[in-house]
């Protein structure tokens, strides 16, 4: 018995075990990619707002 088949009473399907890693990584990269883009966007927006405020104050 392979260590992989941990819970024993359910047949997880060999193909299912293999494919979930592939699907998961693709989806995971997409999820984290979207998050990273959102974070970068909001950081850039924050920096722009700050520099605008500084410009107004210095005027």
């Amino acid at each position: 018995m392979h260590a992989l088949f941990h819970f024993a009473y359910l047949d997880p399907g060999t193909g299912s075990l293999i494919i979930q890693s592939l699907i998961g990584i693709t989806a995971g990269v997409a999820v984290f990619g979207r998050k990273a883009i959102r974070n970068a966007g909001s950081k850039a927006k924050g920096m722009l707002t700050r520099s605008k405020d500084n410009t107004v104050k210095s005027e």
């Binding site: 392979h2 359910l10 399907g13 060999t14 193909g15 299912s16 890693s21 998961g24 997409a30």
Partner: protein, 470 residues
């Protein structure tokens, strides 16, 4: 049922070595075996159970401390007494919306389990029940310690129990959910892929979780030990596990049922009652419900359509199961914004009374038939008799026998010939129903019941009866 130690396990509870459920003196218990000790203790100590209970996602249980009455069992670690689910229903009796909500609940439970260092070891739709219109996870022993890098063994089951039937419901008809009665352990991926139209491949989630998944299954199923050994070396990183869960959730969320027109979906919009007659019938039924003594706790509304009359029983405090054959009508009852107390006591389900749910699974005993889940205190059968007796040729004595098996009291509406709904049924066929009249109806019912009340529905030719068992 299998004898386990000194108690007898429920017929559906034989797969998991971690424990089983059983009933003693009418009370349901769950035994945790020593095999399930480590996982159970981890679920307690990690705070997983508390978190799931706080969010009302998992059925609450109490640990039974006095176990002498249950005899000795060397395998027993703990005995639990879970909160009672008023009526057990099965995925093949749910609508698209109910199965979708059960899928989202399973994913939510899985997400919280992962946050607590645990994982669902299976993803069966039978792990979910409904209390009124609220889904709740019932399998306390489904949680196992999560070892980082291990794949999710319940993934295939999740796809077959939830994604495949939902996809069929989305692209074909929502009635496809009832195929789960044939495919008791989920719709096989190959069957789902063969039945779905080509355009389903363009749904990203379905492409991954059904088509790609099915190809991988086909390619590797004959691989034997060599493939299994290679598979064992494969790891699913945290990123992949998070991505998999997000992808499954997104796939379920974007699956929505097609707007379908069905025979009975708009029944109450096109009823042959005037508003006044409808209101009179409502008052009449409500009054008859209060006449039933003792006060009913459990009511079945047979042919409930969108639950218009079921809510009268629920409003009076009875847990009411609203059955109808029409998936659109049942889904309306499920999605309706009922007041909270009503929603907690109203469970809409799909049921074809001419072919009610049979006993299914191993030894016909894993899933109970409809009648095994009764009898109940009151059966409502309004505007139903003509569909059974004329629409399906069921003789009146057989209808009466079935109703007697369903409940101790019956509130039933007799719809006579001359009523536009009966005339409609007879419009395209010969009238061979010589005995379809009040006299024969009362005689048939009289074999099982006494008449307590018989009242005409104002503004119609119909009569509503309250019968009580002899």
């Amino acid at each position: 049922m299998s004898k386990t130690g000194s108690v007898t396990a429920h017929a559906a509870s034989f797969r998991d070595p971690a424990g089983f459920i059983f009933s003693q003196d009418g009370t349901i218990y769950r035994q945790v075996n020593t095999d399930g000790r480590a996982d159970y203790d981890h679920a307690v100590s990690s705070g997983l159970f508390k978190k799931l209970w706080d969010e009302e996602l998992l059925v609450v249980h109490a640990e039974v401390t006095k176990t002498a009455a249950f005899g000795r069992d060397t395998k027993r670690y703990k005995l639990l007494k879970p909160t009672v689910i008023p009526f057990i229903s099965y995925p093949y009796e749910w609508t698209f919306a109910q199965l979708r909500d059960a899928a989202l609940l399973t994913l939510r439970v899985q997400k919280i389990a992962l946050e607590h260092g645990m994982i669902l070891k299976d993803a069966s739709a039978y792990n979910v029940q409904f209390v009124g219109t609220r889904p709740i996870f019932i399998d306390t022993l489904s949680f196992a310690k999560y070892e980082a890098g291990k794949p999710w063994e319940g993934y295939k089951q999740f796809c077959e129990h939830f994604i495949a039937p939902l996809a069929l419901g989305r692209y074909d008809t929502t009635d496809m959910i009832q195929t789960l009665r044939t495919y008791l352990d989920g719709v096989p991926l190959a069957i789902a892929c063969a039945l779905l139209p080509r355009k389903a491949r363009f749904n990203r989630g379905l492409f991954s979780h059904l088509y790609l998944h099915n190809s991988a299954q086909r390619r590797h199923q004959a691989g034997g030990e060599a493939v299994a050994a290679r598979t064992a070396e494969r790891k699913v990183s945290n990123l992949a596990m998070t991505g998999l869960m997000a992808s499954l959730e997104r796939t379920v969320r974007v699956l929505k049922p097609k707007d379908a027109k069905t025979q009975w979906g708009d029944y109450y919009t096109f009823t042959n009652y005037s508003d006044a007659a409808f209101e009179a019938k409502r008052k009449l039924v409500s009054g008859l419900l209060t006449e039933v003594k003792p006060k009913p706790q459990l009511v079945w509304d047979l042919g409930a359509n969108n639950g218009e009359f079921s809510v009268l029983a629920a409003g009076q405090g009875a847990y009411t199961v609203a059955f109808d054959i029409d998936t659109v009508a049942v889904q309306r009852a499920y999605r309706n914004k009922w007041p909270d107390e009503t929603a907690a006591r109203l469970l809409p389900l799909v049921q074809d009374l001419t072919n009610p749910s049979p006993g299914l699974g191993w030894a016909h005993a894993e899933r109970m038939s409809l009648l095994e889940r009764g009898p109940v205190d009151v059966v409502l059968a309004l505007a139903l008799i003509h569909h059974l007796a004329i629409g399906n040729n069921v003789p009146l004595p057989d209808v009466a026998s079935f109703l007697a098996a369903c409940g101790r009291n019956v509130i039933i509406e007799f719809v006579p010939k001359g009523d536009s709904k009966v005339d409609h049924l007879l419009a395209s066929r010969e009238d061979i129903f010589d005995e379809y009249d009040e006299q024969h109806f009362e005689a048939a019912m009289g074999k099982h019941f006494n008449i307590v009340a018989k009242k005409p529905v104002k503004g119609s030719r119909r009569t509503v009866y309250l019968f009580t068992e002899r």
